[in-house]
């Protein structure tokens, strides 16, 4: 059975069997005769020379970075922190200003935002207006519900283009 974390939305883990030490290849082989296609087992017995290929497990997992320039050269991507407030707005301002001067377009991923204050929203609004003046583009991708709610409360959701339709959902 799966391990159950009380806060998790995953109850029973249907993949747990894959880590079981008693997972037995031989029993799987026996099951081949019962495959959906009965052709499978017969094929195997007739074609023992099917060439092998190594499974590729060599790649290291990549850890997502907070912010990084995209590989498309003229476009940069910034992933916003979950909590955005007056304490870190100066740093964000510095980073965005730098990106705006170096790239033609910036995609701001706001999917992880849990809390955002008016200072940060104002910064994003000014950034968007500045970009228009420079004929550059800023898009706020996949804004979280909290982001949309805060920008609507401040009356700038339309200007930031963060309503659901503009954001690409449905």
């Amino acid at each position: 059975m799966a391990e159950k974390d009380e806060d998790s939305l995953i109850g029973f883990d249907p993949l747990a069997w894959m880590h079981r030490s008693d997972f037995n290849q031989d029993s799987q082989r026996d099951d081949v005769d019962k495959l959906e296609s009965h052709a499978a087992s017969a094929f195997v017995s007739e074609n023992a020379e099917v060439p092998g290929q190594a499974m590729n497990h060599d790649e290291e997992p990549t850890i997502a970075s907070e912010s990084f320039p995209s590989e498309q050269g003229e476009r940069a991507i910034l992933v916003l922190e979950p909590v955005l407030n007056i304490q870190n707005v100066a740093l964000l301002h510095q980073r965005l200003t730098q990106m705006l001067s170096n790239f033609e377009a910036i995609d701001i991923d706001a999917s992880g935002v849990m809390m955002i204050d008016t200072a940060t929203l104002q910064l994003l609004l000014i950034l968007k207006q500045t970009a228009i003046g420079l004929q550059k583009s800023i898009s706020i991708d996949f804004p979280s519900d909290k982001f949309i709610e805060a920008s609507e409360l401040l009356g700038i959701a339309e200007m930031l283009e963060v309503d659901q339709v503009a954001s690409g959902f449905f």
Binding site: S8, L9, I10, G11, D13, P14, L15, W17, M18, H19, Q25, Q28, R29, D31, V32, L35, E36, S37, H38, A39, A40, S41, A42, F43, V44, S45, E46, N47, A48, V50, P51, G52, Q53, A54, M55, N56, H57, D58, E59, E60, P61, T62, A64, S70, E71, Q72, R75, D107, D109, S111, G112, S139, D141, F142, P143, S144, D145, G168, F169, F170
Partner: protein, 253 residues
């Protein structure tokens, strides 16, 4: 040069197999790779998505049932991208039980035939686990599994892995398996949790770019256009371009 044969497979419906097949193959073709994509689903949604709508046009059905060569059935649909449609008789393969072993081996043999110059052959599989999928698994070198980030998709993945492991055991060769997170909704907590579970079981096997759910991806098949034609430069087009690079360079999460 032999092509890498990739089965785009998940027996669960609605996980983005056809969307991935259409847009990933077009992205790879735009990057200069020579691609053949086979519509292996009798519903023919891949062909429709690429703008080929004649339901009576024969394709892989004649290759498998009548022994016509694959080369004869290729349709050039975009630069560097050839399509083999499903054809009206493909469903008959599912009822082919008399051939015994050979009914599972038809596609592999058809792909061995001829000297073509593709870099990749993609097989867009049906959402089932019958004779057609057996054919795809016998023919494929690698499997690309599109996954949505919901709980039932996890359940489906468990079933799929059981099937794949049986084939690996029977064929005595492991597949290279990659997963692509499609229809991903980053603002949903369940999406992140499902992804986290998948990462636990498939470390280094999930392509680095997630394909995020957008309305545009749902809209473009009705115009027979890929996302690169329907709305070039949009988020989804950028997602698929990044995914194609991940696929070529083996860049995983």
């Amino acid at each position: 040069m032999s092509a890498r044969i990739v089965a785009v497979l998940n027996q669960k419906g609605g996980v983005g197999k056809t969307t991935t097949s259409v847009n990933l193959t077009h992205a790879l073709a735009k990057l200069g790779k020579k691609i053949t994509v086979i519509d292996f689903d009798p519903q023919s949604h891949l062909a429709v998505s690429l703008g080929v709508v004649d339901p009576q046009k024969s394709g892989i059905d004649r290759v498998l049932l009548e022994g016509v060569s694959l080369a004869q059935q290729l349709i050039s649909v975009r630069k560097n991208l050839n399509l083999v449609v499903a054809g009206p008789r493909l469903q008959e393969i599912e009822q082919l039980m008399d051939g015994g072993a050979r009914s599972g081996d038809l596609l592999r043999k058809a792909l061995l035939d001829g000297h073509r110059d593709e870099d990749f052959i993609f097989i867009d599989c049906p959402p089932s686990s019958g004779v057609l999928v057996a054919n795809a698994l016998f023919a494929a070198d690698e499997i690309l599994v599109p996954m949505t980030s919901d709980y039932l998709a996890l359940q489906g993945l468990s079933h799929l892995m059981g099937t794949i492991k049986k084939f690996e055991s029977a064929l005595k060769r492991p597949y290279k398996i990659s997963l692509v997170m499609s229809r991903y909704i980053p603002t949903r907590r369940i999406s992140k949790e499902v992804l986290s579970v998948i990462q636990k079981y498939f470390p280094g096997q999930i392509l680095a770019t997630t394909i995020r759910e957008t309305a545009l991806l749902a809209e473009c098949p009705s115009f027979g256009k890929t996302i690169f034609e329907y709305r070039p430069g949009c988020r989804s087009a950028r997602d698929f371009t990044a995914l194609a690079k991940d696929f070529l360079e083996g860049r995983m999460m």
